[in-house]
């Protein structure tokens, strides 16, 4: 085992040094806000593997788990690393939404240095295979007839799951319950066990349950149809005029790092997004390529926060910022 480690290290050092102002000289710390096995953790480890395989960075990438507070701990950790050029972090949408509702989540993405947006995660709306609803319209109508009786399982109330529900409820006037489960496994277990009627689920995860005949997909939370779901309508096509809120993942750096470092990291992730390994990873997980450079990402923050602000307000959630 040690031998292969040495080999990997040797390979890494043999990689050509990029002709730019900054190149990392010691292992890079990659901060994620989940424990091992969580969404960001898995993405960061996959990215680290691909970067190593494609020799995009001459040093090792070490994932550091800073779980807790729905991302606030990791964001604060990055903020404290001011000016540190060998640390980057993987953010998700909750890094933007949490500061809106949690007083103490006082490090926002705007306090960190944007590097790149990497991934957009589409989602699909699923019901159990033996449920009577054939279309999203069926489900919404059923919810209208029995207000509050149908249930949806999902993450926290600031999660995309609930945002989709709020938006659908607003345009349709229907009302159904939202039950928070912290773990993704519990959400799908609740659906498969018939304890809830509907959930917003990641397409790759849904795919296997569809193949096994456990669930049916009614609509996709996406602007255009996903390749794996050619026959399933988007929300708009299903007759609901709703703008899907993207589930986003990307990379940030600590505040106050030199411009050339930003350029370097932006370049690394741009190259990453063009590799075959990365395209395969996206396809395997049914993610959308969401690459955006630093400048676009900063603008994306504002649009996304504004959109979430409205959605959360409509959901009756108290905003603190």
């Amino acid at each position: 085992m040690r031998k292969s480690l040495v080999m990997v290290a040797a390979l890494a050092f043999a990689a050509p040094v990029l002709a730019q102002g900054f190149t990392p000289t010691r292992p890079v710390e990659v901060v994620v806000h989940t424990g091992p096995g969580g969404g960001s953790d898995v993405l960061a480890r996959a990215v680290a593997l691909i970067i190593e395989k494609e020799k995009l960075v001459p040093v090792r990438m070490q994932v550091a788990n800073k779980p807790g507070g729905g991302g606030t701990v990791a964001a604060a950790y990055l903020a404290e690393k001011k000016g540190e050029s060998h640390t980057i972090g993987f953010f998700t949408g909750v890094w933007l939404t949490n500061p809106l509702t949690i007083e103490k989540a006082n490090v926002t993405l705007k306090d960190l240095t944007p590097i790149a947006r990497l991934v957009l995660e589409p989602a699909v709306i699923a019901v159990k295979a033996d449920a009577p609803y054939k279309t999203l319209g069926d489900f919404v109508n059923a919810a209208k007839q029995k207000p509050g009786e149908l249930k949806q399982s999902g993450g926290s109330i600031t999660s995309r799951d609930n945002v989709v529900r709020q938006q659908l409820q607003k345009v349709s006037g229907a009302r159904w319950a939202f039950i928070s489960f912290p773990g993704g496994g519990e959400r799908i277990a609740a659906l498969l066990g018939g304890h809830v009627n509907m959930m917003v689920i990641e397409p790759a995860e849904a795919g296997e349950h569809i193949r096994a005949g456990n669930i049916r997909v009614l609509a996709q939370v996406s602007d255009k149809r996903l390749p794996a779901y050619p026959g399933v309508p988007t929300l708009k096509e299903a007759g609901f005029d709703v703008t899907p809120v993207p589930q986003v993942r990307g990379v940030v750096a600590p505040p106050g790092i030199p411009r050339e470092n930003v350029v370097y990291w932006e370049g690394v992730f741009k190259k990453l997004s063009q590799t075959e390994s990365w395209k395969k990873f996206l396809a395997d997980n049914q993610f959308e390529d969401g690459y955006q450079g630093a400048a676009d990402l900063a603008k994306f923050y504002d649009d996304f926060s504004q959109q979430m602000r409205v959605v959360l307000q409509e959901a009756g959630i108290k905003l603190v910022r």
Partner: protein, 501 residues
């Protein structure tokens, strides 16, 4: 027949020399990780993930699973010797294991833990092999109301963990439940009891509280009585270092109880091995003919939780492999590994990858055997640790505790928390408050609250959902029955005295 041919196929994979080697590497690493508090299986598996891309996936899953169940063997070591729970699942082992060590029976305690682990680990694999798909479907009948009832049942065990005073035990439980509530409320994203501290937003890590209250509290209490600070007795001779026939006989029921309870609770994605170990400890005490020995070094009090937390591993792999539903962070990262290797975990994973599934199952039989062979000879060696004089042993325990806590989070704040809870553990000992109920409340608190609130959301606020669903109703009645045990005992006592008169 299908199972038999599958198993043959599996052994053909698992017994390949390279796979035997990977399995050995996995279980050895697992044991090491389990012995050290702090660094747990999820972090270890994550660190080794890049290496697995150089291996074939069958070998890789064999090795990673080895780390997972190997760690459960190692977890009991520091619990028994030093009162430091290496993993959360070994807290219940501390209660009687450490008392056995204090009585000079560290060897038999470690030995019975290894044997219980082996029996239950093998039982867990057997369960995984025989009943995985149908059982996974049954586990889906469990939802929030059932989890609430299960957690209540676990909480009712407090009456069995209580020392002399029931009131004190209940108070300690309430404090544990309160500590569990610290942090961000997952439903409304409101911060609770965080006193403006960002570190507290994520809540208190159960390992910090457990190590503080158990290990640090114990060290402080021992340091106090200077004349009492002497090395613990460690008898010489191999015979005194391994469990006696009597120990094995006393633990017979504990092996079975722990194996079955551990497996069944393991299959439920929302429960976990800590709850499994506490419940089987409670059941063991409830049916024991000598309940008064529990907490004072009863060998079956070590066997039951150790069996439960090993059998749980086989159970936890059931929803992971048959439905792609992870119940813990370790199974979550195993699942992520499968995805990264290009597999599609889900209901069709086993039928479409029989060689891999059966290879894993077969390797777990082999791995459990390796762990037994590996761990039993280590028992006399580990027992020698206690020969160290107090001025070496106690600072070492403090050091291990601090490093263990710091290594999981890398946060100084957590080290301060550890100091605080150590002080609390010391005061609790001085005032004769039992520590186990506090930990029980803390472990179950979060899940209990979530399950209750989810249930009420499902029923639109009506509590009747908890008793109209049959599984939930049965478990809640059991919980009430257990809570009544002390009253019943009192009544019995009074009746016997009346009869004598």
């Amino acid at each position: 027949m299908e199972i038999l041919s599958g198993l043959m196929q599996g052994f053909a994979v698992a017994l390949q020399p390279m796979n035997l080697l990977w399995c050995l590497l996995g279980v050895v690493l697992g044991t090491v990780v389990g012995v050290m508090p702090g660094l747990g299986p999820p972090a270890t598996i994550a660190m080794l993930l890049p290496l697995t891309f150089l291996m074939n996936p069958s070998s890789a899953i064999i090795m990673l699973a080895g780390i997972y169940y190997g760690a459960k063997y190692g977890g009991s070591t520091t619990a028994i010797l030093l009162n430091v729970p290496g993993e959360s699942a070994s807290v219940a082992t501390c209660i009687d294991g450490y008392q056995m060590a204090r009585k000079g029976r560290a060897g038999p305690a470690l030995g019975i833990a290894a044997i219980a682990s082996f029996i239950a680990g093998t039982f867990g694999v057997l369960g995984l092999m025989l009943v995985a798909p149908p059982l996974a479907k049954m586990a889906l009948a469990f939802s929030s109301p059932e989890y609430f009832a299960l957690m209540s049942l676990g909480l009712a065990m407090v009456v069995l963990l209580a020392g002399r005073s029931m009131i004190k035990a209940l108070l300690a439980t309430l404090v544990g439940l309160w500590i569990a509530g610290i942090g961000i409320d997952p439903f409304s994203t409101t911060a609770r009891f965080t006193f403006g501290s960002r570190e507290l937003l994520s809540g208190l890590d159960f390992v910090i509280v457990a190590i503080g209250v158990f290990a640090i509290g114990e060290v402080l209490a021992n340091m106090e009585g200077r004349e009492a600070v002497k090395a613990l007795p460690v008898p010489k001779g191999l015979r005194n270092l391994l469990p006696t026939m009597q120990d094995m006989k006393d633990s017979r029921f504990a092996f079975a109880n722990g194996s079955i309870i551990g497996f069944l609770i393991g299959v439920l994605p929302g429960a976990g091995s800590t709850i499994a170990s506490f419940i089987s400890y409670g059941v063991e005490k409830a049916v024991s003919r000598r309940p008064e020995e529990f907490g004072k070094g009863a060998v079956e009090g070590v066997a039951a939780p150790e069996a439960a937390n090993n059998s749980e591993t086989g159970g936890a792999l059931v929803p992971m492999l048959t439905l792609a539903i992870p119940g813990s962070s370790t199974t979550a990262i195993l699942l992520a590994a499968l995805v990264l290797w290009g597999f599609k975990p889900g209901p069709l994973f086993i039928p479409e990858n029989p060689a891999m599934f059966w290879g894993l199952v077969a390797s777990m039989y082999v791995g459990n055997l390796m762990l037994l062979v590996l761990n039993l000879p280590l028992v006399p060696l580990f027992a020698q640790v206690l020969r160290a004089p107090a001025y070496v042993l106690y600072p070492a325990i403090l050091g291990i505790s601090v490093v263990g806590v710091y290594s999981t989070s890398g946060s100084h704040f957590d080290v301060w928390l550890l100091a605080g809870f150590g002080l609390m553990g010391y005061l609790m000992r001085k005032l004769d408050y039992p520590a186990a109920p506090l930990i029980l409340g803390l472990v179950l608190g979060g899940a209990l609250e979530r399950a209750l609130r989810q249930s009420l959301m499902m029923s639109e606020g009506s509590l009747s959902i908890l008793v109209t669903r049959p599984i939930s109703a049965v478990m809640l009645s059991l919980a009430v029955l257990i809570l009544l045990i002390p009253l019943f005992n009192k009544f019995n006592h009074w009746r016997l005295r009346a009869l004598e008169k």
